[in-house]
Symmetry: D2
Subunit: 284 residues, 4 copies
């Protein structure tokens, strides 16, 4: 496997693509996928994602990074080079609802979710057997108002020990503290069970029912300090009607939730998502 990808953002100006692609060509790389976006060709921010094949990329990664540094400096780039088979370690946080967790486990088992699910953390003991049957460690860390700070400290310790890159909140029903969020900026992905910004906060299906909406949705977003206000990665909806009670909405919603979360995580792990202010650029 000789595939890699580079993700770049920098002030927009002429010559960026030429500089990067010429560099890659000189390194013997062949570009296989290219995506770019500029918030404004005049004075905006430019985003570039290139996927390329390059012989011996694994051995040459550091050398290529060193060679690229001057170009990056010239264009004031924030950038990152990642090998295609540099599989990232993720932790999944769950409470009692299992549908999102299971979807991720099944996709992982089927080889569709390319990640190393290193750990599942839950504030409830219920899903231990399910998770362990996949050969994945399950850590039960109860959370109460009193123990929350200690619980988060324990979670952070575990996430470090396991060298976790990305945290997935798969219907984890606890709000993370700003301190916790600050430890993993842009690396915590949540699934909210509504079409944000409609029905921010608790009980969205009950509120959707009360409002009489004709579509329900789910939203996957990065977690920030503002509840349900982080950058949206993906959303989807399903049709409902007057016959559906809140329990029906929950049942129908489960399919959207798990699909949307899995899609967002997949894009994140493939470095297709760039956070820009409170929005995302998604190169899918």
């Amino acid at each position: 496997e000789q595939r890699a990808r580079i993700l770049i953002s920098c002030p927009d100006r002429p010559g960026i693509v030429a500089a990067v692609t010429s560099f890659l060509y000189e390194q013997g790389a062949n570009i296989v996928e290219s995506s770019q976006y500029s918030t404004d060709p005049e004075g905006g921010t430019f985003f570039l994602r290139l996927e390329f094949d390059c012989p011996n990329i694994a051995e040459r990664k550091e050398e290529i990074e060193a060679a690229f540094a001057p170009i990056a400096a010239e264009f004031e780039m924030r950038w990152q080079l990642r090998l295609h088979n540099d599989i990232r370690r993720i932790a999944i946080f769950v409470s009692k609802a299992e549908h999102c967790l299971l979807e991720l486990l099944w996709q992982w088992q089927a080889g569709e979710l390319i990640a190393d699910i290193a750990l599942v953390i839950s504030n409830h003991p219920d899903l231990r057997e399910t998770v362990e049957s996949f050969g994945i460690p399950y850590v039960h860390i109860p959370v109460t108002k009193e123990t929350k700070a200690d619980a988060e400290a324990e979670q952070i310790r575990l996430l470090r020990d396991y060298q976790i890159d990305t945290i997935v909140l798969a219907r984890y029903m606890q709000i993370l503290s700003p301190a916790f969020v600050a430890e993993f900026p842009g690396r915590i992905i949540n699934i909210h069970h509504s079409f944000l910004p409609a029905f921010i906060g608790a009980r969205p299906y009950e509120r959707a029912y009360e409002r009489g909406v004709k579509l329900i949705g789910a939203t996957s977003h990065y977690v920030t300090d503002d509840l349900d206000e982080g950058p949206i990665i993906e959303q989807d909806v399903a049709r409902v009607d007057h016959r559906h009670h809140p329990d029906d909405l929950k049942r129908i919603g489960r399919l959207i939730e798990k699909t949307v979360l899995a899609r967002a995580l997949r894009w994140h792990l493939e470095d297709r998502v760039i956070i820009h202010g409170n929005k995302t650029i998604v190169f899918y």
Copy 2:
């Protein structure tokens, strides 16, 4: 044409369907479509819509209504019998945006919208030529803060003169006063250019852009005194991404707006929509 429909709501209890269908059978009618819904079989409200064929229904309508009255009284029904070819008179309110108006005019011209578009009222003169080319009267009633009461009085006078049954706000950019709304309860249909309850109020596409949503939508609802809070009839969405600026959202949104409004109006005119509290039952 011997088709008619009856729309009923009443407290739920056993025997309603039997009573109504037996009555129709005795009148020589054959039921061709039936829809029902109960908020709760125990003590809830029951809704029934029957479409049926009945020889000479036009001549016999009053006689049948009189014969049905005792049944209606027994079950405490709110009800209404309407002939299939009793075409309703509607007025369309517009401002400057033409896409929703045009969709309704085209569907009407193509025989898909079964209504008598008796009148178009606008607070701007811009669309006069378009409307008049369809042979429909166009009345320009300017509205300013100072003249609003007078303008509404003039509108109401016209709506009465033209015997208007249903008012369609096809991107009419004025808020109607409670007094106006009270004149046409459950008979004013609006299209809001967002997926309510997200982005209630002004500039929804700009706010959708700022929030970075991945789907935009439109909502058709009955107008009540609470802005954008009335019973929702229909909603739909379309996918957008980071490349779309507010103008793109508006362009993409136009297709959803006009489609959703036309669908909602069609259901309303076919007596498929029942308002129940702040929600709708839609028998489509």
Copy 3:
């Protein structure tokens, strides 16, 4: 639980609904859901599905059936009364692909699929462990051209022993013989991995790729003697583009396949699907 449902088809003529609903009222039943359809009010076939609550329905089922028989005879009805908690026994046939099987098992475990999954039969041994972990018997019956008749005889014996009502082909890659199909008329549900009638037969994703379609689909249908030609219960699609190779189409398609099959099976088990000629009426 006092809920039941009656499913009726008969020649259309006035008075059917009145007769049935009056009968149910006399039995003390309250109708909670009603669906009907006529292929033609003049001389067509009429279909009726009523869901109702009736005290002591379990004890009184035979008595009610006997009392209904004269009405059924008068209107030449084919009909069937089923208690809501009369859970049907199903068998799932699989080969090697697990996604459809797993979706059904998970929905069953989550209480969303109301059925008794009595048995899984496969022509391969691969999924034994998965199935048995759900506490469900797994029977491996290899099928070759030479052994097919014997294998089907063995399958039929098992299906009878287990008193199987409905057979689900969850990506079972063998064609059933006409003799087998004749044993379970209208009770074998298949999922085909294309938007029928496009790509009937083998390798639909490869052929979709070759044709360059922009949407792929899946179709759940009743099995008849004509391959992929049986009455369609449900279909759905997903968007694809030029970047997707057959393996991508298969991955994207898996989600549609399992969703469509689960939906079709759910409707079948709730007696919402009526086969009429080579089409279905679905009262969802």
Copy 4:
């Protein structure tokens, strides 16, 4: 307006993107949109579309093309440079159905369809008034089996006189001869009223009804000598059910047809569609 776009296809090999983007940089251009695709990085075909801003591009176009020629030769490119405000001239062919034609006219009037609708040609006189009210010439050329060759000769003469670039068959119910098609390779866009390859040929809605499908669709494709077999540009579907008769399918289908055709044409006019064998690459 200084925007332009270049569309390139050539054998894939390392260095293409670097060569093209370096060239553009040297010309003072800033790339604002980039899309690429390779059928196979090893020995496949590479496709590139770049949109860029370049001062004085209108005046410098020929000079830039000349300067680019050696690069194009080196990489064996098929390529084309087009200014953003080089509006293409199109002709619309219609018969009696007006919905697709009207959608294009309305989008054109609203400034959403960036093209010069130079001419409408029809084998029927019906839509003359509609078309002429938009200030567009309408030419009625009747077509019978006997006059078909003459009619096509007359059409071709007109298309040349009017310097037509792209022909849109907006539900034109005549099959074009191979000779006609050969005159406009890759420049005739058709809308077929089914989800191809299902229901190729005549009466697709009737056949969809007979088959009992649960979704109907429309397909926009380039016209080739094989009826309904040309490269697909875009497809979409809508949900239907057992209650829908062929006339309902036609009504529902009209919305899909016009939407799909308008989308395909828009992409074509923006040079986002590349024909590759019997498939398309669409860079939307």
